[in-house]
């Protein structure tokens, strides 16, 4: 058994809504993710998926319970976490290269080294010819690949993905998902993906957790035993994939009212 990368113990989160009334967003969730696992969390809108990511990233603190990452209680943001959002969130005034350099800049990596590494990473996401382009000059798929390169520059032990493929059109999504798998599969890092796209969860993850509608609780914890390396487009008509998806869908359906 690999060591535990992330552990939530009896985590509850209550926040105040716009009227100041308390809202129970996450209700007593316990969860352990071994190092190197790709975990997907699916559930209806407002089930607290993103809230869990935000607690793991240290953006917010749990009301009750503890969030432990690499053996330490999370109290604030740390530099070994790569966080990706639905929108690429690139800095529009920076070229692709300078965007990828950003996390290294924050850590004080020297200019030459930063640049060398950024170029290497952009080559890895097949954007070698677009290093000096600005985000406005790139397509959405390319922008999300720059965001992947930027996250790789963090060399994260833990990837927190908040629907990073959801804003892409169907074909670009497959390309970028494959790109991500290819780059991630040999890093040994842990991934927690939040999505409302069940197929995506089953295609990419080693394990899928279904959450209930608010307040969010874990409803189903399913291992996805599709072997790696995977290619998303090869799996779409795979029978085992379809069975798993159908089984989880039954559980999820009850939550979508």
């Amino acid at each position: 058994m690999a060591e535990v990368a992330v552990a939530l113990s009896d985590v509850t989160l209550i926040f105040s809504d716009a009227n100041g009334d308390p809202v129970l967003a996450v209700d007593d969730v316990s969860l352990e993710v071994p190092q190197g696992q790709f975990l997907a969390i699916v559930g209806p809108s407002g089930c607290g998926k993103t809230t869990i990511l935000n607690m793991l990233s240290g953006l917010i603190n749990s009301t009750l319970g503890t969030v432990v990452k690499n053996g330490e209680v999370v109290t604030g943001p740390s530099m070994d976490v790569g966080y990706m959002l639905a929108r690429s969130a690139l800095f529009p005034w920076r070229s692709a290269r300078r965007n990828v350099e950003m996390p290294m800049e924050i850590r004080g990596v020297g200019k030459a080294e930063r640049r060398r590494r950024a170029d290497e990473l952009l080559d890895m996401v097949k954007l070698g010819d677009f290093k000096t382009k600005f985000p406005s000059q790139l397509s959405q798929g390319m922008r999300q690949r720059v965001a992947i390169a930027r996250t790789l520059a963090i060399e994260p032990k833990l990837w927190l993905l908040d629907e990073p493929f959801s804003a892409l059109d169907a074909q670009t999504r497959i390309t970028v998902q494959n790109e991500f798998l290819r780059l991630w599969e040999n890093t040994g890092s842990t991934v927690i993906l939040v999505t409302h796209d069940l197929s995506e969860a089953v295609l990419l993850a080693d394990r899928v957790i279904v959450m209930t509608a608010r307040p969010g609780k874990i409803k189903l914890d399913q291992v996805i035993d599709i072997p790696r390396p995977r290619r998303v487009d090869d799996l779409l008509d795979n029978e085992h994939f379809m069975q798993l998806e159908a089984r989880i869908w039954k559980e999820l359906r009850d939550e979508l009212v």
Binding site: F91, I106, F134, D169, T175
Partner: protein, 290 residues
């Protein structure tokens, strides 16, 4: 953006394929460039002709205006006039100083007010009043306080520019893309990184137009204050010329001021284009704001 997505074919092809060449609209605009230049020239010639005939046919009393020819002659006989150059230098110095002080102050105050909401809540009535007050009308008072020399003009120019920059800065600082802040925070960025790498660039982008507008207003403010009394300056030269109905000189000075404004605006426009290269819709050929 949408068209590029539609063009994407198989995943493999996409990488080369989704680079977007200039749109056909951009090309069409490019091919129009020369006819547009000719059109511009024709409109200028037409405007000068209108001016010429207004003078010639006595549409306006000849005592109160100068003809294009007289204005040109004034330039011809004064281009090496040291006193005109000195006045120009004085006004330009007042305007630039007022612009720099006003925009820096406006930028810093705007950022401060956005950062400390409570401070803004408390001070906003005063700022709202000062912004609403006709600041050009303070010119005579400022001259009484700061004297006839350049300081009073700098103060008026700066006070106008201050609000032109402060108001949008405060607004822009509150509208920084929250995704960028999230990414910066999760990357482990400190407060300093957040300010210099996210907030300041975002705000500068939004308020560059206001800073540019401020430059022209600084020139107007400085000139306007000079009308009420100055030691030197284009405004003083202008009011002195109109007082003795020396209309060629009055018109000449107006032209100098206008050309200065265009020059300053153009120079900042070039800088802006250079710095804002990354924007999809560049500010090329943006509106001349006076």
């Amino acid at each position: 953006m949408n068209s590029s997505e539609n063009r994407e074919k198989t995943p493999g092809q996409k990488i080369i394929d989704d680079y977007r060449p200039p749109s056909s609209r951009q090309k069409a605009i490019k091919s129009l460039r020369i006819p547009i230049q000719i059109g511009k020239l024709l409109v200028i010639i037409f405007a000068i002709l209108v001016w010429h005939f207004i003078y010639k046919w006595n549409v306006i009393n000849k005592a109160f205006i100068a003809s294009p020819k007289q204005t040109l002659d004034w330039f011809g006989s004064n281009w090496d006039n040291g006193e005109v150059w000195r006045d120009l230098k004085v006004t330009l110095r007042e305007a630039l100083l007022g612009w720099i002080i006003g925009s820096t102050g406006g930028l810093l105050t705007g950022l401060l007010m956005a950062r400390f909401k409570l401070l803004w809540d408390v001070t906003s009535p005063v700022f709202t009043f000062l912004n609403a007050a006709p600041r050009t009308a303070f010119a005579p008072i400022l001259i009484l306080i700061f004297g006839l020399a350049e300081t009073s003009k700098v103060v008026l120019a700066a006070s106008i520019v201050f609000f032109i920059v402060m108001v949008p800065t405060r607004a822009a600082a509150g509208m920084v893309d929250p995704d960028l802040e999230t990414v910066m925070t999760t990357m482990g960025g400190r407060e300093r990184d957040r300010f210099f790498k996210v907030i300041l660039p975002s705000v500068l982008t939004s308020v560059f137009g206001a800073i540019r507008l401020g430059s022209v207003w600084a020139l107007l403010g400085a000139t306007f204050a000079e009308l009420f009394g100055a030691k030197y300056g284009l405004g003083l030269r202008y009011i002195a010329a109109t007082n003795i109905l020396n209309m060629p000189e009055a018109f000449g000075v107006i032209f100098i001021i206008a050309l200065l404004a265009i020059g300053i605006n153009g120079a900042i426009g070039l800088l802006e284009r250079r710095l804002m290269r990354w924007q999809a819709t560049s500010t090329k050929g943006s509106v001349m704001v006076v």
